[in-house]
Amino acid sequence: MPSTTTGPTTVASSTAVASYPLAPLPWEELVTSALLGTDRRPPTAPGGQVPADGAGALLDAAALHTVRRRAGLLPAVAGARPAPAPHDPRPGLPEAARHRLAQLLADRAAPAASGRRGAAPDLTELIPQWLAGANQQGFRAPADLVPPLLDAARARTDLRPQALAFAGPLGLWLAALNPEWKFALRGSAAGALVPDTDDPETVRTLWEEGLFAERVALLDAVRAQDPAAALELLTTTWSTERAEDRLMFLDALRTGLGAGDEEFLEQALTDRSRNVRATAAELLSALPSSAFAGRMAARAASCVHPDRTGAGLSIAVEAPHECDAGMQRDGVAAVPPNGRGRRSWWLGQLVEATPLGVWQERFGGRPPEEIVALPVADDWAGELHAAWCRAAIRQRDPHWARALLGEASAPPADSPGPASIAERSKLLAVLSEAERADWVAAFIAAHGLSEAFQLLGVCTVPWTGPLGRAVVDALDIARDGGSYPWSFSGVMGLAERCLDPAEADRLEVLTATPDEREGASPGAGSYWSEAFQRLVSTLRLRAAMEAELTA
C-alpha cells in the first residue's frame, strides 16, 4: 500500500463540524467504536458531545476519513532496484517467427484436448524443433515470451537445454527472481557456465576452491582445449578426491582420450573404488595399443581359437576356468549376476575389452563379415557374438558393426548379432548417418513397422529420402491391411517430427478417404485419412517454421 498522509488531521471547517460531529476524532477511535458497537461504546465528539444517532454519525465520519485517506495517498518508498539483466547481443526474431513462437507456447498453456488426435498438427510437439532452429540461427528470445518459455521448460525437462539457451541471460536473470524457475539456475552450473581457461592462475584457483559442478565444467573445458593439461590438473588432486567425484572426473577423460592417458589409467586400475576401476578399464580398452589391451587380447585369444578339425574352418571356444588376480586387477568382475554362468561371464568381459583387430589376425586376415559367419562350437556363438557387439559399440568400429548387423532384410533370427532391437540400434549408431538410414529403410521394407520404432530413434532428422519413403510405404501398407492408425501412433508421431518437410506434396494423395472395403476395421479408412492429413499439415507447418526462422 502507498503510505497515507501522516500529518495532523486537518481541522474540519465549521460546517463540516456541524454535519459531521465526529469528524475530528482520530481514525483509531472510530475503528474501536465500530468494532465494539456504538451501543456499548458510544463515540464521543471532542467537548463531550454524544450525537443522537451514534451509528450514523460514526459512518459519516468514517466515510470522510476513508475518502480523505485515499485521496491523500503518498508514493511508497522504492526498494532496492534489481541489477539490470545482462545485455543479450543476439538479434531479435523475424516477426513471423515471433508470432509462431507465441502460437506454439499459447497452445502448450491451453488445456489439452481430450481423446484421439484429430487432423491438426500437435503444436506442442514442435516446440523442441522450433527452439533448435532458433538457436541454430542465433536469435534472442522476445522478452515477453521468456516467462511462458520458462514455464514450458519447467514442465518438460527435455525442453530445458534448448529453452534455456534461447532464453539467454534474461532467462537466468528472471529465474533468480522466481522460485518456480529455480531449475534454470541449477542447469546453468554445468551448461551455461563456461569457465575462463586462458589464465592458468584462475584455472588453478577454481580447480582447488570451486564447487563440484564448477570443477567438472572446468575440467571439461580444459580437456576440450588441451587434453594433457586437463590430465595434469586432475593428477594434482587425484589422491584426495572422494570416490564418486573421482568417477565423474574420470568420465571427463573420454574426450580426447589418447596414449598420453594410459599411464594414469593403468594406475587407476588399482583404485580403491570398484566403479573407478571398471571405468578405467573401459577407457583403456578403447586404446587398442595400450598394454592393457594387449593383456586382454592375450587372454581372449587363449580362449577363442580357429578350429580346422571339421569340414571347414570353425571357432572353438574354451572359456576361462578362473578369474585370477591379474584379470581382476584389469577390471574383470569375478562374480556374475544371478542366473549367469561364471565362465561365460568372464569370457564375455575378456572379448568385450579386446581390440577387434586381434580377431582378424587370429583368423588369417579374414574380414569381420567372414569371421562372424564362421560356425562356433558348443553353443558359444550367442555369447561370443554378443561380446563382439559390445566391443564394436565401445570401440566405435563401423566395419564390425556392419558385419554384426548383417543384412537388414534377413529375418532377425538369421542375423549374426543379437536379435535384440536395443542392441541393434546401438550398433547402428556406430555407422555413418547415410548408412544407418539405408539399413533401417531396408529393415522396414522387409519387416514392417512393428519393431522399427527404436531403430528410427537413432536416425538423424530429417530422415533421408529412402528412409522416409520406406516409412510412408509401410504406413500405406498398414492402411491397406485394414488396421487402425493408432496402432502406429508412435511411428506416426515420429514421422510428423522427422520426415523431410519437402515430402508434404508427395504425401497429399494419401489424405483421401478410401472406400470402405470388406474385412477392414470399421471406419479405419477415414481415420487413416485424418492421420495422413495431420502428417501433411505438420510437415507444411515445419516447412513454414523453418522458412520463418531463416527469412
Partner: protein
C-alpha cells in the same frame, strides 16, 4: 523496415493492415477457443479464402460433416458470422481464419467476397449505416419522442428512483444496526445476511447497491485488518445511500455519478468525440451471471481516456472486441457525470495496428495525484486509469512495486496483479530497465494492464514489430 516473409507486400502498400497473432488471440473468449483456433490456423483446413480492402475476411472450413462451415469476419466491427453451431463468440473457425490471415504467408489472397459472404457483409453494413443515420437524426432532434412518450418515460423513471430510495433507506437501517452491535460480530452473522440484503436491493432495482453489499459479505474473515476494511466499505456505502436520498441537493455531475453507482439506467448523451482511439487494454470479469468486458481507449488527438463496457451472458463472451494495440478512428459518446465511460459510436475506418507508442505518462506521484483528484468527483472509485512512464518493477517484501527510474517514489502492485502471468511478462520486458505501463491505480495499489518497452531495446525495438506492446491481462 521490411517484413520479409514470402514476398508479402509490406503493410504500407496493403490497404488494410492485418491484425497480429497476439491481437487475434486477444479476441478469443477463452483458452479452449484459443487452442482450437490455433489448430485451425493452417491452410489444410480452409478453401475459398479471401479478404478485401474493406477489412472483410472469409473462408470455408472443413468440419466433420459433408458441408464445410462458412466463416466470415468483418474486421471493422469486428463482427463474425459462421455457419457452425458453436455458441462461442468468435468461434474457433473465425479465430482460425484470422490466425491464418495473420500468419501472412500469402494464403489468404485479396479478392471479391463469395456470394454467401457478401450477402452478410452487405446486410451488416447496411444495418450499420441505417443505425448511424438514425443516431444522426436523433442527435439533430428530427425524430425526438413526442411529449406523451416523454411524460410516461419520466413517470417510469421517477417510480424506479423511488424504489431505489426505499432500498437505500432499508440498507441504511441495516448498516446502522450493524454499527450499533459492533463489527466484531459481523463474521459470526455469516454470508447469508449479506446475500439476503443484496437480494432486497435487487428487488429495489438498485443493482449497484446490491453489488456493493455482496462485496461487503466477502470482507469478514478475509485476512488481517478485515474490520478496518469493513468499516471503510460500510462507510462508503452509507455515503452512497445518503447521497442518493439527498440527490436533489447534489450538483449535476455528482448526481449523475451517484445515479450510476446506485445502478439506475443512464445513457450516453454527451456530444460525440471523434478521435483516433488507441486500444490500451481489454479484459473480462465474470460474476457468475454476467461477463463484463472493459476496454480502455486513449484518444491520440484529444488526449482523453475512455472506457467502453460491454456485457455477455454467462459463458458467452461480450460481442464487442477490440484488439490491444490497434487504433480506431471513431466517435465516442460520453456518459454523464465526471466518469470516463463512453459508448462506441460511428466508426470511420478499419482498426489499424500501430507501432508501439504509449500515451504520455508520468511518474508515480502524478499518478497518485490523478487518482486523488478523480476521487473528488467519484468517492466510490476503486481505480483510475494512469500511464506510468519510466518505471522499474522491483520486488518488495513478498510483493512487487513499480519504482520511478529516478528518485525514490514507488507504487505497490495490487494483490490481484501478483497472481497473474502478466506480472512476469512485465518483469521480463523490463529486465531491470525502465518501461512504460498502463493500468488502474487505486487504494489497493496499481494493477498493470499493458506495457511498452521504452527503447532499452530488450524486448521490442525496430525489427520486431508488435514486440513493443505487451498485454499483461
Amino acid at each position: 523496415m521490411l517484413l520479409s516473409h514470402g514476398g508479402e507486400p509490406s503493410p504500407a502498400t496493403e490497404p488494410v493492415a492485418r491484425w497480429t497473432v497476439e491481437q487475434v488471440l486477444s479476441l478469443a473468449p477463452d483458452d479452449a477457443s484459443r487452442k482450437a483456433g490455433n489448430k485451425l490456423a493452417s491452410a489444410g483446413h480452409w478453401s475459398g479464402t479471401g479478404h478485401d480492402a474493406s477489412g472483410a475476411v472469409w473462408g470455408l472450413c472443413k468440419g466433420s460433416g459433408s458441408k464445410p462451415y462458412q466463416t466470415v469476419v468483418d474486421t471493422t466491427g469486428p463482427a463474425y458470422k459462421c455457419s457452425c453451431p458453436s455458441r462461442k463468440f468468435p468461434c474457433k473457425h473465425a479465430l482460425g481464419l484470422l490466425l491464418l490471415r495473420a500468419s501472412g504467408d500469402g494464403q489468404v489472397q485479396q479478392g471479391e467476397p463469395a456470394d454467401w459472404a457478401s450477402q452478410w457483409l452487405e446486410g451488416r453494413r447496411g444495418r450499420a449505416e441505417a443505425k448511424q443515420a438514425r443516431q444522426a437524426a436523433a442527435a439533430s432532434g428530427e425524430s425526438a419522442p413526442g411529449p406523451a412518450d416523454t411524460a410516461a418515460a419520466r413517470k417510469r423513471a421517477e417510480r424506479r428512483a423511488e424504489r431505489a430510495a426505499s432500498g437505500a433507506l432499508e440498507l441504511e437501517q441495516r448498516l446502522t444496526d450493524l454499527l450499533r452491535g459492533g463489527l466484531a460480530t459481523a463474521d459470526r452473522a455469516g454470508y447469508t445476511l449479506w446475500e439476503e440484503t443484496a437480494a432486497r436491493m435487487v428487488d429495489a432495482q438498485a443493482p449497484g447497491l446490491a453489488g456493493r453489499v455482496r462485496e461487503l459479505g466477502a470482507i469478514p474473515g478475509s485476512g488481517p485488518g478485515w474490520p478496518v476494511r469493513l468499516l471503510e466499505e460500510c462507510s462508503l456505502l452509507h455515503l452512497l445511500d445518503t447521497a442518493w436520498l439527498g440527490r436533489e441537493r447534489l450538483p449535476e455531475p455528482l448526481a449523475a455519478t451517484v445515479r450510476t453507482r446506485v445502478g439506475l439506467p443512464v445513457s450516453a448523451e454527451g456530444p460525440p468525440v471523434r478521435d483516433h482511439w488507441l486500444v490500451l487494454a481489454q479484459y473480462d470479469t465474470a460474476d457468475g451471471r454476467l461477463t463484463t468486458r472493459r476496454i480502455w481507449l486513449y484518444g491520440r488527438e484529444s488526449g482523453r481516456t475512455a472506457l467502453l463496457l460491454s456485457f455477455g451472458a454467462a459463458g458467452r463472451a461480450p460481442e464487442l472486441a477490440l484488439p490491444v494495440g490497434v487504433t480506431v478512428d471513431a466517435e465516442l459518446t460520453p456518459y454523464p457525470g465526471g466518469g470516463l465511460r463512453a459508448d462506441l459510436g460511428r466508426r470511420f475506418a478499419t482498426p489499424v495496428p500501430v507501432p508501439a507508442t504509449p500515451p504520455p505518462g508520468g511518474p508515480a506521484e502524478a499518478a497518485l495525484a490523478a487518482y486523488g483528484e478523480a476521487l473528488r468527483g467519484d468517492p466510490w472509485l476503486d481505480g483510475w486509469p494512469v500511464t506510468l512512464r519510466d518505471v522499474i518493477p522491483v520486488p518488495s517484501g513478498g510483493g512487487w512495486q513499480l519504482a520511478d527510474a529516478e528518485g525514490t517514489d514507488a507504487l505497490p502492485l495490487a494483490p490481484a496483479a501478483l497472481s497473474r502471468q502478466g506480472l512476469w511478462k512485465l518483469v521480463a520486458l523490463s529486465g531491470g530497465a525502465p518501461v512504460t505501463v498502463f493500468g488502474e491505480l487505486g487504494h489497493r495499489g496499481f494493477d498493470p494492464f499493458t506495457a511498452w518497452d521504452t527503447g532499452a531495446g530488450r524486448g521490442g525495438g525496430p525489427g520486431e514489430a508488435g514486440g513493443g506492446t505487451v498485454r499483461l491481462i
